[in-house]
């Protein structure tokens, strides 16, 4: 590829806020730069821009520290101080070695005696791996049982409770504000100006100029806090208390009949459903439908009674019916019952602003002000025209960031946030909070289509069964999500959203009545570095020494592939080919007015001996005798997301092994045929020239509201009757097996969540390790770095050069006065000690940090990755613990640790 200057269109998906579109400038065969793809400036929500990390792609391509050819380990001993003794081998030998191991599994059985698959695969980087995996997922589909639940931090350290509860309540894998139509945001640590990509940041900027008021509530002043109207410092892990305080103010200090959206509560939620003495809905004995109290007819009627005009939201009523408990238990009831909304009001009646102040350190007056500002901006009763449809307009949103929306307290925060939206009707309507995509529900490509009628007037939910007949007593993979976490569902994404840290924890000390956690016979890892990205990296590394065979797709040497047996340098961003879905609504704040597909393609000859992952997948399929199944998987769209049309692969014997370009040509054609209803068929060459193909996507499809109304469905809020039943059943199942170690998690299944002393859960870790909580007076937190999130950016000097300009990189941030009180000056080397570990870093003294907080950005602590190992960046993961006590009912934890910091 030499000659004059070319500009080659590709996409960048180095974070989940993509893909974004760019052009690579290639001069005389050398890629010399990137630029926004102005061809799509009118289509892309941020005018076709790409973020700082896309400008690192050129250095990523030519990084001299790349793994330059397949490598085989020659030193059988594994350890940090053991040189792997890499020996360069051919691709033929490398894939032959891997196929030999895989075929041995096929010969002995795909699943071992414990019930766990013998093959495990871990993809890092959350949702971005599929944009680079080529057709590797089709190989896995052809393979059979694979354990994808050995975590690298990607599932349990994400917005985990938001993912699981968000999909449950409103098909919101992630939750975003409808920023262009929103006037007031309460942001609890949501750091979208670092994490929401160019589309999010562009929307935020536009909204700020328009006058959006953004209240940033967080322990340290983040990048997003910089642009906020106001910063409200809050004690770590007390967000639920403030949210409960907001509910109190709205429900007890205002006339909720005037300030809230009563019609929304009555018709779009379960607020009117009557709750009977056992805590379950009162139901009609015949239809088993939940009952509500009809104020006009003064008797209970089914929630969907067409004559119902005035359901009661308050009061106590004497009524008869049945309650449906766990495992089909039924109770005939003739007793006092109350609407769920009345229980909600009672429930929050002790969460006063003064109570919240004592816990959160946010003044009671501020709690009241925030609640009243929220109400005053909600505009209950207002409407707006969207695509010719009249919809409610509720320009208020509550957003949650990481650590707020995962781990203990995550459920409480997600519930309170969603109830706050429901109270004013700001759920899934213009201006309010919206889901972005679904990953647990199906179809993944369109969350609106995932809305289907279920029981009790709510959406159908794909929960893992907890009844005696169908509950999975023996975990099918090592993280056991089908056994422990009903909300994790069972989609292809569920393993990654399972308690993926538990395999590391249970390796040598399986809990009672739980199958022994074994090492997979073969572990394939891709774009993942759990020795850095997991909690308690020391534990992870100790385990890595014992994996029998690890094949690592490898960019550079890193802390995890140091322990691998085989390094496979796959073609990276600008060297390989893939078509990927783009547009519509997706993750973070991807809200487009178009939807389509974009191509990533090789822009120049690779500087190393790498191979396209699609070609690797195809060859592995052939070497494992799986080519027909692999081609069938491609025909049905496994791995590519696009079922083929017209041009199918012939799977008759002997099937022909297609090259990557042939695969993607067929995918391009199927994708365009699919988008245009069969009218347009465009092949790979067209995409190589043009980069992407779009069709319009209606704005009205951002909102669930019209679909819910059309299907007569309600949001399962505020009362969590179903989860109460599920939790009760799960507890019974576990107890029937003698499992008591999940009891703390079972306590989370409450119909109305309560405040518990969440910070104390972390403080008590010290006691388990023979230390006193007061020895660790500070909280160590982490925060997103836009420059360093995902990708392989830690190994790129150019990103280090610009990241250094964003304060917080390459050190640990401390409040200035705290630092000085500890005798620490700016730049001093400090030791950070937790009950389970120590690390070091340079002190960065700042004013925008609470006095009881320290902040280490992102995830570092590298010792093997070139460039990164010289950054001297401390990492929370080095001092955090993998601990069942820190694991919530969804199976997640949170990034915070109690620490002591002292000058070295």
């Amino acid at each position: 590829m030499s000659g004059p200057t070319q500009k080659i269109p590709v996409y960048c998906y180095q974070c989940v806020a993509g893909p974004d579109l760019l052009k690579v400038i290639v001069r005389d065969g050398v890629a010399v730069g990137v630029e926004p793809n102005a061809d799509f400036a009118e289509i892309h929500p941020a005018c076709g821009k790409v973020c700082v990390r896309a400008y690192g792609l050129i250095q990523k391509l030519y990084n001299p520290n790349r793994i330059r050819a397949p490598m085989k380990r020659t030193n059988p001993r594994k350890g940090r101080r053991e040189d792997p003794g890499w020996r360069e081998i051919s691709w033929d030998e490398a894939l032959g070695l891997l196929a030999e191991k895989l075929n041995r599994i096929r010969a002995t059985g795909l699943v071992e005696e414990t019930g766990y698959p013998r093959l495990a695969v871990t993809f890092g980087s959350g949702g971005i791996a599929p944009a680079y995996l080529g057709t590797f997922a089709a190989f896995l589909a052809a393979w059979g049982p694979v354990d994808q639940g050995i975590g690298s931090g990607q599932g349990v350290k994400c917005y985990h409770s938001e993912h699981l509860y968000g999909e449950f309540w409103h098909r919101a894998f992630t939750v975003a504000a409808d920023t262009p139509r929103c006037d007031y945001v309460l942001s609890f640590g949501y750091n979208g100006d670092a994490s929401a990509g160019v589309t999010g940041i562009f929307r935020h900027g536009e909204a700020r100029v328009r006058g959006l008021r953004w209240m940033q509530i967080e322990p340290h002043l983040s990048v997003t806090g910089a642009g906020a109207t106001e910063w409200v410092p809050i004690r770590p892990k007390t967000d639920a208390a403030l949210l409960f305080g907001l509910l109190y103010v709205i429900l007890h200090e205002t006339d909720w009949r005037k300030t809230c959206d009563v019609p929304f509560l009555e018709t779009m939620t379960s607020s009117a459903y009557l709750v009977a003495p056992h805590g379950y809905y009162l139901r009609d004995p015949g239809s088993m439908k939940p009952l509500v109290w009809d104020l006009e007819r003064e008797r209970p009627v089914a929630f969907d009674d067409p004559k119902l005009r005035r359901p009661a939201l308050e009061g106590t009523f004497l009524a008869a019916g049945v309650e449906l408990g766990p495992d089909g238990e039924r109770w005939s009831i003739a007793d006092s019952v109350r609407p769920a909304f009345a229980l909600l009001r009672d429930h929050v009646s002790t969460y006063t602003p003064a109570w919240a102040e004592a816990i959160t350190d946010v003044p009671a007056a501020t709690v009241r002000r925030l609640a009243r500002e929220y109400l005053s901006h909600a505009g209950v009763g207002r409407t707006i025209q969207v695509d010719g449809l009249t919809l409610p307009h509720r320009p208020v949103a509550v957003l949650l960031g990481k650590t707020v929306s995962n781990g203990w307290g995550g459920y409480e925060c997600c519930w309170a946030r969603t109830v706050l939206a429901a109270l004013v009707g700001a759920l899934e309507v213009p201006g309010g909070i919206l889901g972005t995509t679904v990953r647990l529900n199906r179809p993944a490509r369109n969350r609106l289509e995932s809305v289907r009628p279920g029981s009790d007037g709510f959406m159908a939910q794909p929960l893992n069964p907890t009844d005696r007949a169908r509950w999975e007593a023996s975990p099918h993979i090592r993280s056991g999500y089908r056994t422990l976490v009903p909300l994790a569902a069972d989609s292809p994404w569920s393993p990654a959203l399972s308690p993926a840290h538990l395999p590391w924890l249970f390796l040598d000390q399986p809990p009672e009545h739980w199958p022994r956690t074994t090492f997979p016979e073969v572990w394939i890892i891709y774009r993942t570095n759990p020795a850095i990205s997991n909690w308690e990296t020391g534990r992870v590394e100790a385990a890595l020494e014992r994996f029998p065979f690890v094949a690592a797709f490898a960019y550079t040497q890193d802390e995890t592939n140091w322990y691998a047996d085989l390094l496979l340098p796959e073609a990276t961003d600008l060297e390989s080919c893939q078509l990927y879905r783009i547009g519509g609504t997706k993750y973070m704040e991807q809200y487009w007015e178009h939807t389509g597909f974009a191509l990533r393609q090789p822009v120049t000859d690779p500087p190393v001996n790498c191979r396209d992952l699609t070609d690797i997948a195809t060859e592995l399929a052939e070497r494992c005798g799986l080519l027909p199944a692999y081609l069938q998987a491609l025909n049905r769209g496994a791995g590519t997301g696009v079922p083929l049309k017209r041009k199918y692969f012939d799977v008759r014997d002997p099937p022909i092994r297609p090259a990557a370009q042939e695969v993607w040509d067929r995918v391009c054609r199927a994708a365009t045929l699919s988008l245009t209803g069969g009218k347009t068929e465009l092949g790979l060459d067209w995409f190589k020239a043009h980069g992407a193909f779009f069709v319009p996507f209606p704005i009205v499809n951002y909102y669930l509201h019209p679909v819910m109304v059309a299907q007569g469905l309600r949001y399962e809020l505020p009362y969590q009757e179903r989860l109460k039943r599920v939790g009760e059943e799960l507890g019974r199942r576990l107890h029937e097996r003698g499992i008591r170690w999940w009891d703390a998690q079972l306590d989370e299944y409450r119909p109305l969540p309560i405040w518990r002393d969440f910070p104390d859960i972390w403080a008590r870790v010290a006691l388990k390790h023979g230390r006193r909580p007061e020895e660790f007076p500070l909280w160590l937190l982490t925060s997103r770095s836009m420059q360093y999130s995902w990708g392989a950016d830690v190994s790129l000097p150019v990103l280090a050069e610009v990241a250094r300009l964003v304060v917080g990189h390459f050190g640990v941030m401390l409040n200035r006065r705290t630092g000085l009180a500890l005798g620490i000056q700016d730049g001093d080397l400090v030791e950070i000690e937790s009950p389970t570990g120590r690390t070091k870093g340079r002190a960065i003294l700042r004013e925008g940090v609470r006095p009881d907080v320290a902040v280490a950005l992102q995830q570092f602590g590298h010792w093997a990755t070139p460039v990164a190992r010289d950054l001297g960046m401390p990492s929370l993961n080095q001092v955090s613990a993998i601990d069942l006590d820190l694991t919530d009912a969804t199976g997640s934890g949170a990034d915070l640790v109690r620490v002591a910091i002292r000058k070295v």
Partner: protein
């Protein structure tokens, strides 16, 4: 005609995309940045604000860097762009001393991002003429001039606009003719009350900031 820039601090998120795009566009070696976004704080806890402030050459109407140059290398064009004629520059640093915005950078010698050899991209974009001389933001003068020659509109058409403005993901950097009252840059100054940095110095910068 007076080329200038308006930077909207309400939009800026300090992401450094402009910083790295400038570096790429101008083939700058490791350690040299012609522009950057300062990450600063104002006030004391808890009454503190975090402020991102993009910094670069202000292309002053009265540039203090020009008259102090002993060789005449430091010059100003009629359209306001301040630039350095590398062949005449001896790297003495007087201009750097005179510039109150610290916008002048001496490139001592070749320096690559990775130890040893340059990457193929660094090799292809290296600028040997800049070694040993003072360098600075040029408002991407080559893009502007090439664009005008192609009858493109600087500040409107990306190919004729400085790369920092093209790259900015927040739409915070607007380039345009400050003598044209109808240019987006001029309108922004008027409508949102943009101000230059340190006007009291009398340099009359061509870079304005929108602060609220």
């Amino acid at each position: 005609m007076r080329w200038g820039m308006v930077i909207d601090l309400v939009r800026c998120v300090g992401c450094q995309t402009c910083t790295i795009a400038c570096k790429q566009e101008n083939g700058l070696p490791a350690g040299v940045l012609w522009r950057f976004v300062a990450d600063s704080e104002v006030g004391e806890y808890p009454d503190v604000r975090r402020l991102f402030l993009p910094m670069q050459c202000m292309h002053c109407v009265e540039p203090p860097c020009v008259p102090v140059c002993p060789t005449g290398a430091s010059q100003q064009r009629e359209d306001g762009i301040v630039w350095v004629e590398y062949d005449r520059c001896v790297g003495c640093g007087y201009c750097a001393m005179a510039c109150p915005y610290r916008a002048r950078h001496l490139i001592k010698d070749a320096s690559w991002h990775f130890p040893g050899q340059p990457t193929p991209a660094e090799q292809a974009t290296a600028q040997p003429a800049r070694r040993g001389v003072m360098t600075k933001c040029t408002f991407c003068v080559d893009r502007v001039d090439r664009g005008i020659a192609r009858e493109l509109r600087p500040g409107v058409d990306p190919e004729a606009t400085p790369m920092c403005a093209v790259a900015c993901i927040a739409g915070a950097i607007i380039f345009g003719d400050l003598d044209d009252a109808e240019s987006p840059a001029c309108k922004l100054i008027k409508e949102r009350g943009a101000v230059p940095l340190m006007p009291e110095l009398g340099t009359n910068p061509s870079v304005y900031y929108v602060t609220e």
